[in-house]
């Protein structure tokens, strides 16, 4: 599965990657994937699976999916 960590969520990846792949052997609850990734739930404001916004608590994902996680969005310069 293709994983994209927006904003400061990439900080929590051990290698501080914004984009990488993980292997899922079967359909998995999104919450379990996120716990495995080590990204604090409290910092996740928006989740998209295959570019569609989904509920963090309810969504399930497969190895073929693309997952985008974003923190709360603030201002630019």
């Amino acid at each position: 599965m293709e994983v994209h960590l927006g904003g400061h969520l990439a900080f929590y990846d051990r290698e501080k990657r914004s984009q990488f792949e993980v292997r899922l052997d079967s359909e998995t609850a999104l919450l379990d994937v996120i716990r495995e990734l080590g990204v604090p739930e409290a910092e996740i404001a928006l989740v998209a699976v295959n570019r569609t916004v989904v509920s963090l608590a309810e969504a399930r994902v497969t190895d073929a999916d693309r997952l985008d996680l974003y923190p709360p969005m603030s201002g630019g310069a």
Binding site: G7, H8, A10, F11, V53, P72, M73, S74, G75, G76
Partner: protein, 634 residues
């Protein structure tokens, strides 16, 4: 002086060619410590109501913040304040970089410029002395040539140069100021005010150190070291350093709040061509402002379909969304070139992009055609037309003359439905943040004295989850209850009111918004510690919030004096209609709820709910009794 200021302000009358200084005592500085407060004080005291923003009667105040130049990351900002030629009201814009700290080190807290020189000049300030110098040979020159020539003439390559570009010389209403070529006072047309004074540049050199001005230099230095060391360890600061603002683009699009096609839509079908991955493929490095460990400024250079050099700041999120999604250009190279053109010519990138997106919608609706646009097919997505148009705006040539006036005036001239396409507040174009997904930001756009501005307060998504880092970081401001991004109830308005006072305090202190909570690593208590160490004053968080509120109230009194009322605190009608696409498709702001939120905000501020003017009682509480006659329209 040993409370973080020099106690001295330089006054320059360009009509008379005279230079003098004013001194102020510690009591004065505790009320008006710097930046927005110090500048607004002078503007209100000295500017004649109704003065032509582009006439010799306007004042241009360049004011450092209380902490500007302190050895603390993000303490780099200074304010440019005048009556705005874009809005007719309170004009203000901040910039980081090196010029503000250098002015502080030159023994000055601010420069007040009045009058107009008969010929182009520049101002040379060195260690408290100043000289008006001939700039006829610099007029019309590109910014790098002007900067190099001034340094050559003065024999010092470390002179810091603040200047206008061609747009400022030509009085484009949204011309900006730039320092060191890479740092911009973009908003409200301060470049046009300086250009109208025939003042091409202000060169500064100082030999003092901020720590010599501070009450407790050791504490200040220790805090600065701790914060600098903490940048790589703090997730949000790490994000700003590693990704910078362009890291926002994907999230905005996914959330349905990436302004697209002049704010009609919230998602861009070609986002992958302007997003963070596209950006990082072109970024060549990052740069810093003075003594700032965050180091968020993008550097970009490439030669491919377009050519961009690293002479200026690379595109930030505002430029990427402004020229990218909002003009429907799915080509980051073209966007980066548009950004570079604005910087080279001295145009505010937000207003330039917003005005062009407005013109594109007029073109698509047949309100203007090739006969009006010098033959340009000004349709959404036409990058070539945008790149041709930007220099015409700066030179006010052909169709560029109309767009150089900003979207509000251009819409009035075009007529028909055009005003409904002009996405502005008080004449200033909207930044690239969609109020239909951040409704508190919309409240800020509507009520801010300088027009639409995304840095007036905190953005709504930061206050949804009480466990999140941004939320927890502002508990010391009294923000403890979460609210939704679309909530317009009293809880949200209270958060907004607090955040506006805090951000205003940052403008007074000279702190960048990318330093303090909730955006980054400097905690509320750290800011209090820094001010105490700089000044020796027993300040509290509440006093800092009051300092911020006082500055907002001075700006509001200024606008009341110029005839602004509650009717001017309004959003474009489009934002009360549904977004056409994206994750928030169908979402609109409820007008009655929004008006109710404005009334609540006025009540919290102690302002009249009908007129939007500060009440005499509130002004007295803030120590602004000297403004009460003006607030009453007197």
């Amino acid at each position: 002086m040993s409370h973080g200021t020099n106690g001295t302000i330089l006054r320059v009358d360009l009509t008379a060619g005279s230079i003098s200084t004013d001194s102020f005592d510690e009591t004065f500085y505790r009320r008006y410590p710097g930046g927005k407060a110090l500048a607004a004080y002078h503007l209100l005291r000295e500017l004649r109501p109704g003065a032509d923003p582009l006439g010799p009667g306007n004042l241009l105040v360049l004011a450092t913040g209380l902490l500007t130049g302190a050895p603390i990351s993000t303490a780099t900002r200074f304010n440019a304040i005048a009556r705005s030629p874009l809005t007719g009201g309170f004009g203000e814009s901040e910039a980081g970089g090196y010029w503000g700290p250098e002015l502080k080190m030159a023994g000055l807290d601010a420069i007040v410029v009045t009058g107009r020189s008969p010929d182009p000049v520049y101002l040379w300030v060195k260690d408290g002395t100043a000289e008006i110098r001939d700039a006829r040979h610099l007029w019309g020159q590109d910014p790098p040539a002007v900067q190099a020539a001034i340094r050559e003439e003065l024999g010092d390559r470390l002179v810091r140069v603040l200047q206008v570009g061609r747009a400022g010389e030509n009085l484009v209403r949204y011309a900006m100021l730039m320092n060191e070529l890479r740092h911009y006072n973009g908003r409200t047309g301060m470049g046009a005010v300086m250009g109208a004074k025939n003042l091409r540049a202000v060169a500064v050199r100082g030999s003092r150190r901020y720590v010599d001005l501070a009450h407790d230099p050791a504490t200040l230095a220790e805090l600065g070291k701790r914060l600098a060391k903490g940048v790589p360890e703090h997730p949000q600061a790490w994000d700003l350093r590693t990704k910078g603002t362009p890291g926002l683009t994907d999230a905005m699009n996914a959330g349905g709040i990436l302004p697209t096609r002049n704010f009609r839509q919230g998602a861009f079908e070609r986002v992958d061509e302007i997003n963070f991955a596209a950006y990082i493929a072109l970024r060549t490095g990052t740069r810093s402002c003075y003594a700032c460990a965050v180091r968020c400024k993008p550097e970009m250079a490439f030669s491919d379909r377009h050519t961009v050099t690293d002479t200026y700041d690379g595109p930030e999120y505002e430029a990427i969304a402004g020229f990218g999604s909002d003009c429907a250009i799915g080509d980051l190279q073209a966007v980066a070139r548009a950004n570079e053109l604005c910087n080279e010519l001295g145009l505010d990138v937000i207003s330039a992009a917003g005005t062009i997106a407005f013109a594109m919608e007029c073109f698509e609706h047949g309100l203007i055609g090739p006969g009006d646009t010098d033959g340009l097919e000004l349709r959404f997505g036409n990058a070539a037309a945008v790149l041709e148009l930007i220099p015409r705006i700066a030179d006010r040539s052909g169709f560029g003359e109309l767009l150089a006036q900003g979207s509000r005036r251009a819409a009035e001239a075009i007529g028909g439905d055009a005003p409904s396409f002009a996405m502005h507040v008080k004449g200033q174009e909207l930044p690239m943040h969609e109020p239909r997904g951040k409704v508190g930001v919309g409240l800020g756009y509507a009520t801010n004295e300088a027009g639409a501005d995304h840095l007036v307060g905190f953005h709504d998504p930061l206050f949804v989850n009480p466990e999140s880092m941004p939320f927890r970081s502002v508990a010391d401001l009294g923000i403890t209850e979460p609210t939704g991004v679309l909530d317009l109830g009293e809880k949200k308005v209270r958060i907004w009111h607090t955040s506006e006072r805090w951000n205003s305090a940052e403008k007074v202190l000279g702190l960048c918004f990318f330093g303090p909570a909730p955006r980054s690593l400097i905690q509320v208590a750290d800011v209090v510690t820094a001010v105490r160490a700089a000044t020796g004053w027993d300040v509290t968080t509440d006093e800092l919030l009051e300092v911020g509120e006082r500055a907002v109230n001075m700006a509001r009194v200024f606008n009341v004096r110029e005839g602004f009322t509650r009717a001017d605190d309004r959003l474009p009608d489009r934002l009360f209609t549904p977004l056409e696409n994206g994750a928030l498709a169908g979402t609109a702001i409820a007008r009655d709820d929004f008006e109710g939120a404005i009334t609540t905000l006025y009540r919290l501020k102690g302002w009249d709910p009908i007129t939007g003017a500060p009440t005499e009682g509130r002004l007295r509480e803030l120590g602004l009794e000297w403004t009460t006659a003006e607030a009453a329209g007197g």
